[in-house]
Amino acid sequence: MDPKQRNILALALVVVLVGLSWWQFWPLNTKITQGLDIKGGLSVILTAAPTANETITEDAMTRVSTILTNRVNGLGVSEATVQRQGADSFLVQLPGVKDSDEALKALRSTGRLDFVPAASINTSVTLTYGVQLPEGSYEASATVITGANVTRAATSIDSRTNQPSVTLSMDSAGAKTWADFTSANVGRQVVIVLDGIVQSAPVVNSPILSGDTEISGSFTAEEAKRLAAVLQAGALPVNLTFSESRVVGPTLGQDSLRQGLLAGLVGLALVMVFMAIYYRGLGVISWFSLGFFAMIFLGVLAVLSRVGAFALSLPGIAGMVLTVGLAADSSILMFERFKEEVRMGKTFRSAARSSTKHALLTSVDADVVTLVSALMLYLIAIGPVKGFALTLMIGIVIDLTVAFLFTRPAIIMLAESVVAKKPFIFGMKGADPDA
């Protein structure tokens, strides 16, 4: 393939990329996920502190994660997420949550898992899984044992019925109380309640003296697994404290988004004006470079949004605005080098080839250094700063792609046709095209 064909191929590739991007990101507001600081909602970081009898183990963190997810789902917020952050923290995001006070309370409550006799529950609701008991449905003193007494819970298969069941073991104090209770209450119903929500309501079949209890019934394997998880994880194994809590009103977030977009667009326009004034015709190439850069950038963000890997945050907007400058930089390096080589007496044709190659190498070195610091920021920092680092890295990679696939071929093709005939359009009046 000769160089000319290669350049045309590169330009075609850019057009395809831009088209694909447009198809991905339009319309913007539905295709690019907005972060919590823009959409509004509650974002908290909960950090585990060890209790008297438990240290923070990996196992404990997994249990906390399960409990938090249960609670967050219980709040009925769509798109709520629980993410592990570092060794001992969780980031919980509740977009659009209405009552942040209520949500904060629900998140931190240590969680009460009670085994209560059905007879002690004075409400008319049906006692089946998922039913929320009204507050004060039972006296705390009616509780036979609590989640603290449960030492282990797991799923198994009932040997007689071949149905999934849940087995649990208890500590000695719990086993003793449980033995007394089950002996006296054969044939009666016990309700297992987590934070006021019924988890299961089995009937005592026979006295259980050792504490080793089997709950069987018409479970599906999934239901048995969930109940075992609740029993195992019911009460939080660790104390959670709020390391960070952000409540963002939706109006404020949208204002910030508008301000960020305005800054970005005005910045882009001013850079374009500067490029056109200083570099004339070459500046117009940079308009396309900047435009393509912006479109591909948005396309990549839309794809990342779709797979849930990106949400636009305010720091992210700052990162995007910054890359506008970065994208112009790589064009400037090429233009300056091109003009310099022409002044040194090279023909437009040969100057275009060698200068863009040189400038591209400089861009790679300078960009990689920025990329390295953005990567460190992304890997090590926590919280909103991560979004900033991510957009910066994406911007750098796209900048180099556009410089390589569009700006360089465009300069070469122009130099071989138009510049050679009309150098003044390119701010190189007086340069001798045939020198």
Partner: protein, 304 residues
């Protein structure tokens, strides 16, 4: 078009003097005045009210006290340009802070839609600071390694000196202006590392290229020519990077301004240090090599 021919390296004493003064003032201010750390570092609550233009500062303070905001007397209340308020208190418990500020909103008849409440628990700041310092150290090491591999270790060391220069000056200006230092500022500082190096790399690229065909001039003269050769692009790349940042300072909300201010200082300092700090130090260091010593003896102008 005329080629610039400014004798940067001949005037390196002046360049070093400017940098030295800036560094001394910065370190002095950091030592005496210190930095104003945001609540992210020490724990506390920041509440932002938008659309509260008919509320006065006194009414706000009254509402804070009426709503039992803990330590309401010590809260700072700062009106914003767009008719809102930023209120800061030392309360580090998210439950308490949210309930109290909910009461303020009701008291003043504002909308929950228009407020932000950020609470940072005590101890979390230490965590963030540690992580940032790790990121900083890791960045510097990675940059040193990359430049050493691609260029040479003398370039990597001088480039890092220049960027430490930029970071100190940025911190110094934060201290002098009493601006709040937040995690966003820290992110901006880490970004400055990259930007500060951009111009330096552009100059070093040219110095390396020219040093391969060094004829009839000293290393310093060649370095000076190199700076002049890339001066226009250094100025222009700095300008196009600064334009969007200035737009952020002008139009962005408070979070974006936070970033942009640090970047603005860092970028200006970075553009200057690639010419005023990195290149002269590198040239001086290089000139000690025997090969360039000889050139120096032979071609040094005896004008002075």
């Amino acid at each position: 078009m005329r080629r610039s021919n400014i004798d940067f390296l001949g005037n390196k004493k002046w360049l070093f003097a400017i940098s030295a003064v800036l560094i001394v003032v910065s370190i002095g201010s950091l030592a005496i005045r210190g930095l104003v750390f945001g609540i992210e570092f020490q724990g506390g609550t920041v509440m932002t009210f938008a659309a509260a233009s008919d509320v006065t500062t006194d009414e706000m303070r009254g509402a804070l006290e009426a709503a039992d905001v803990p330590n309401a007397a010590n809260a700072t209340i700062q009106p914003t340009d767009d008719g809102g308020f930023i209120v800061r208190t030392a309360e580090g418990d998210a439950d308490v802070a949210n309930a109290a500020f909910g009461a303020v909103v009701t008291e003043l008849g504002l909308s929950e839609q228009d407020i932000n409440v950020t609470t940072i628990g005590p101890g979390w700041g230490k965590n963030i600071t540690e992580k940032a310092l790790y990121a900083f150290a890791a960045s510097i090491l990675a940059i040193l390694a990359y430049i050493s591999l691609r260029f040479e270790y003398k370039m990597s060391v001088t480039a890092v000196i220049a960027l430490v220069h930029d970071v100190i000056i940025t911190l110094g200006i934060y201290s002098l202006f009493g601006r709040e230092f937040t995690p966003n500022t820290m992110a901006a500082l880490l970004t400055i590392l990259g930007y500060s190096l951009y111009d330096t790399i552009v100059v070093f690229h040219r110095i390396r290229e020219n040093s391969q065909r060094l004829v009839k001039q000293t290393f310093q003269q060649m370095a000076n020519d190199s700076i002049n050769q890339v001066l226009v692009r250094s100025i222009n790349t700095s300008l196009t990077s600064l334009i969007p940042v200035i737009c952020l300072v002008a139009f962005g909300g408070s979070t974006l301004k936070d970033f942009a201010f640090a970047l603005l200082i860092g970028m200006i300092s970075g553009a200057y240090s690639s010419i005023g700090v990195a290149s002269p130090i590198y040239a001086l260091w290089k000139e000690r090599e025997p090969k360039f010593q000889a050139l120096k003896k032979k071609y040094e102008r005896h004008a002075a």
